[in-house]
Symmetry: C2
């Protein structure tokens, strides 16, 4: 992962939604990655970013973290992230209100349950969340999200918008348009940390939080060249 | 990963072959990990160990590394390791003489080919290997290996035993018995670095190389307790 200190560096290409979807397809078809593999690497890179930006000993409540997961692959990244955070000594709890019927997502839940990671049956109000969790991980919507926001996530975003704890967003701040950024009306999270996967999306120019990272180092250079991603050199094994 | 400086610490349990096979089965059945996931984490941890022990700028030939892969899961860990080494700036080449027909292994090959990682059509002699590659990664046999060693690996081990470049072994030094260690007769690699996955196997007490790491941090604590693995605390996200 590479710190890009606040905003994405101007040299890195910002992806539109269609282009992000195309690259994703190509990773599965041409390069034959499995969703298992890429989700594992994505979720692990998010946990590693969190470990660097919000060290467990600096979080209140012994590293209690709330991971909010959507029904799609972004939610899967969140489940993998929660598992690795637990291995790193954090105490993640998960809120995952719309369960996917995919076998992979079910297995990811089983893996977190094996680590005694609790699932919340409902989302408390913003004050209670801020009191209980020193960090929120937003794994609700990813680069393929298209409005409108359906229930229960309208209510979820409304609550998360008011929390005082920092919010770390996986790939896209939920509620944002992938290209145009924060909504003119309606709720959205306010990101303190944005972990762009593969490459930042166009909405990243609107990011005003403190930490912007590029996670998930699995793009073959031929693919980076084809889409002119102009990715930064990753130092060492980061 | 945790450095255990030379030999495995006496407090960490050393696994016998049957126990290692049982834990492996349980990770897939009870905890519903996929081979894709665990192989990705295992191979990545090996690449991270190598990046720490043999930094690319300290290797001759611009970081040319030879990864020798067997037909089973140990070979798969090697293919994943090669891919991540390439992303870290090394120049891995692969020797993988007995190709597995499994879909996963085929996909792993495709992923390395997408990174322009070359495959050797035959294994040169020891002098040529030592001249061309500053490091050998031994991903031939893992914890489920049972003798006898079949061709072409008898010849492969004979050559690797004579190389002057350091050898980093994934899980088990190939040619060793999982429990009793180096063979009384017959060829085996001479490990400089041993990366034990999950937990060290009994043969690790015979390890006389410089670096012993524990890689692949994916054991739920309930499983570690059940098998009394007594794993060390991993510092941070290592």
């Amino acid at each position: 992962m590479t710190s890009t200190s606040g905003t994405a560096p101007s040299s890195v290409k910002l992806l539109g939604q269609e282009e992000a979807i195309e690259i994703d397809k190509e990773l599965f078809s041409e390069y034959q990655f499995s969703v298992d593999q890429l989700m594992e690497l994505a979720g692990l890179s998010c946990a590693q970013v969190i470990e660097r930006v919000y060290p467990v000993e600096q979080l209140p409540n012994k590293g209690a973290v709330l991971v909010v997961c959507g029904p799609g692959n972004n939610g899967g990244d969140g489940l993998v992230c929660a598992r690795h955070l637990s291995m790193f000594g954090y105490y993640p709890s998960v809120f995952y209100p719309k369960r996917s019927s995919s076998e992979l997502m079910k297995r990811l839940v089983t893996q977190t349950e094996a680590l005694d990671i609790p699932y919340l049956s409902y989302l408390p109000d913003a004050q209670q969340i801020s009191h209980s969790f020193g960090l929120i991980v937003d794994a609700i919507f990813g680069f393929s999200f298209k409005p409108p926001i359906r229930e229960p996530f309208d209510d979820v975003l409304h609550k998360l918008q008011q929390v005082k704890s920092p919010v770390a967003c996986i790939d896209i701040p939920s509620g944002w348009d992938v290209e145009t950024g924060p909504p003119k009306s309606g709720a959205a999270v306010i990101p303190d940390c944005l972990i762009s996967l593969t490459a930042p999306k166009k909405c990243a120019v609107h990011f005003r939080g403190r930490h912007h990272f590029l996670g998930g180092r699995f793009i073959p250079s031929t693919l980076a060249q084809k889409y002119e991603l102009n990715l930064p050199d990753f130092p060492g094994s980061d």
